[in-house]
Symmetry: none
Subunit: 213 residues, 4 copies
DNA sequence: GATGAATGAGCCTTCATTCAT
DNA sequence: CATGAATGAAGGCTCATTCAT
């Protein structure tokens, strides 16, 4: 009992306060094991706090999950819209967007895993939050508007706007979600390179797909 | 892994169900709750058998999961390749393929959910099985070959074959996986109609994307 | 693992089956500690079964409590009515009844404690059961009828029947419930003797109290 | 027991409440849930103070319980004796006493519940306090003396004094403790009226029971 | 006096798994 | 093949209590 834990004995002020530490640990645990597979003990241990502390700050495992996902989504999704929304050229816009998607989902496996899990077993609350955040970011609308404009000015073929945007999202995000299996099936040897080329390939296919001949 | 199970080669004839009933129940349970969230009790109860029976046929929850996924994949994926592989025209081939994907993943939520779960938390064994099955089906290769042929004959632009196929899969499968959120973000009101139009829209975009002007 | 526990290794047939053993252990535990203070671990250990077994037979601590109380009440209360209901003489009836009450509550501290606890923190379900069982036993009515008869025949004063019966119950049962403190306050030195005299003293006071002068 | 608590002799004046508020909250909580079922958090919250404050004033849950019970008993029991001890007539004395009992236990469910709980699971310390307080109040002795006097003067039959007093207490206090179930079994419809009549009915039965014919 | 944050121990409950029959 | 009963090992959550400020 009372084995000296190396670091802090009731930390004075340094650490980013235990609430944040729990959240960080929860992010890892939930991403790795899913909501059902996650273990409260592991989260607490990895956060370096007592298990009861976790229930002091969050009230249940379920609530911790929701707060964790909320944090992740709000944190990451916000970044995209800002940087993208100032492009005027469609080509540039799509490129910028595709790169952001890759960055957003590729850099941090957590985000990708949580997205997959929510798609598999949606939590209404979490789902609402995700959808709302994306819509608020203005991105889908922004892209649709840009395409529509060029369509009206006669540069593009007449295509269904929603299907077009859905396809663009799927080629980017959908691919990333599926990449482990797609890459394998297609015998992609140098994954890194393939992922780097991807942005360009997608935008190229898409633009040619919608442009007039 | 893959230890030779001594006994039954899918037992002879007496109680033809039991094993099958368990598998069916397991399919539902795993799809709804994921591997970690699934409960052996529920599977047994829903299958109408004793829990011990389940352990008699399958040896552990983990093994039951693997067999369940295997069954699903083998069962569903096999169907696609047969019907598709006899198309000669690229247009026809892609249409046929797109329709199969939709059918394959859309009709039965189970398949979609299991795929998402495996993508989120891959089991090497399951993953191997899926990839192997897809490759064996010959489909990706078949498509790549068909595109390559038309590319050589000068009908299509020069594009990276793997990226093209990846995009096609993503527009179809990736979209389906993400559809709950994509549909919502794009304010798709009549989902059924949208999904029905999808095949055509995808093939249209893709073909225009690769064709020469 | 698998430390040899002295007694039975999955008992064959002897013990009165674990359900009954749990119930017996629960009776002791709940009586000694109350519902809140009772510990499931202790009950299981004292019953010589695994904790999970307890949840297999009963579904929760709360339910175990209810079943335990039900068992006790049904078991004990039933005995009284049978033996009492055949007395014709009022004197004899009251004596017989008083003796049964003492026996019922005195012999088994469990019953007394559970009654006190239910009086302090009633569970609707348990309360219903107790009341119903008592009423069904026919005793209160039986006594009231007997008193009423003698009242009409002019042997007794005119008194309120319900108050009379309430007083009789209180002098018997109420005293037993309160005895630890009453005995102490009254400086009763030989408790056993006092309790033995009690029946007679109560019937004497009661009969004189209702008789005509 | 009764370790000298170093600090406050019921602190001077500054925050006169805090301690009192905790005691009030504790009274409710303990009465409603019993000692084991009571929750320190709830007491603190309902008292509007921090949990640590509670430990500052009282040193443990157990001690808080003891102080709470002590407070209640001392507070309530004291009142009875004063007002009763000046009656000279036995009839008047018993009536006055019966009314006090009803008031003492009936008005405030807390007292009734705590008494029941202590009877079910006695705490030596609390029990001592209760008994001592009652004895000190002089009441039992007072009643015994009054009865004895009338007995000697030939007005009453010769009965055992202790049994007589025990019966009187039981008819009053014992009835109140058991009233929820007694009333129900006897099909008492207007409880309030019944309780109001009770005093008279009890004294009447008792006096007739002890008087000479 | 007063507080928010922290903790160890324990509590009720559940789960995958096994055994005797 | 089939079952009811049994179990060890957690798993999530709570509780009385304490510490730094």
């Amino acid at each position: 009992m009372a084995e000296q834990k190396p670091v802090s004995g009731r930390q004075s002020d340094s650490q980013p306060d235990s609430r944040a530490k729990i959240l960080a640990a929860a992010k890892d645990e939930f991403a790795q094991h899913g909501q059902a597979g996650a273990r409260v003990d592991r989260i607490a241990r990895q956060a370096g706090v007592n298990k009861a502390m976790l229930y002091y700050h969050f009230q249940s495992k379920d609530n911790l999950y929701r707060e964790t996902v909320g944090e992740i989504i709000a944190g990451n999704l916000g970044k995209i819209s800002k940087e993208v929304s100032q492009k005027s050229d469609l080509d540039e816009l799509l490129n910028s967007l595709a790169r952001k998607y890759a960055e957003f989902l590729g850099q941090d496996q957590m985000m990708r895993k949580m997205l997959l899990q929510e798609l598999a077993n949606p939590h209404p609350h979490v789902f609402d939050l995700m959808a709302e955040t994306i819509v608020k970011s203005g991105l889908p609308n922004f892209v649709m508007t840009a395409i529509e404009a060029e369509m009206k000015s006669g540069l593009l073929r007449t295509v269904d706007l929603k299907h077009a945007v859905a396809s663009f999202m799927a080629m980017n995000i959908g691919y990333i979600l599926m990449s482990p299996i797609v890459d394998r099936v297609l015998r992609v040897t140098d994954k890194e390179q393939f992922h780097n080329e991807r942005t360009e390939a997608v935008v190229d296919l898409f633009l040619n797909g919608v442009k007039k001949k």
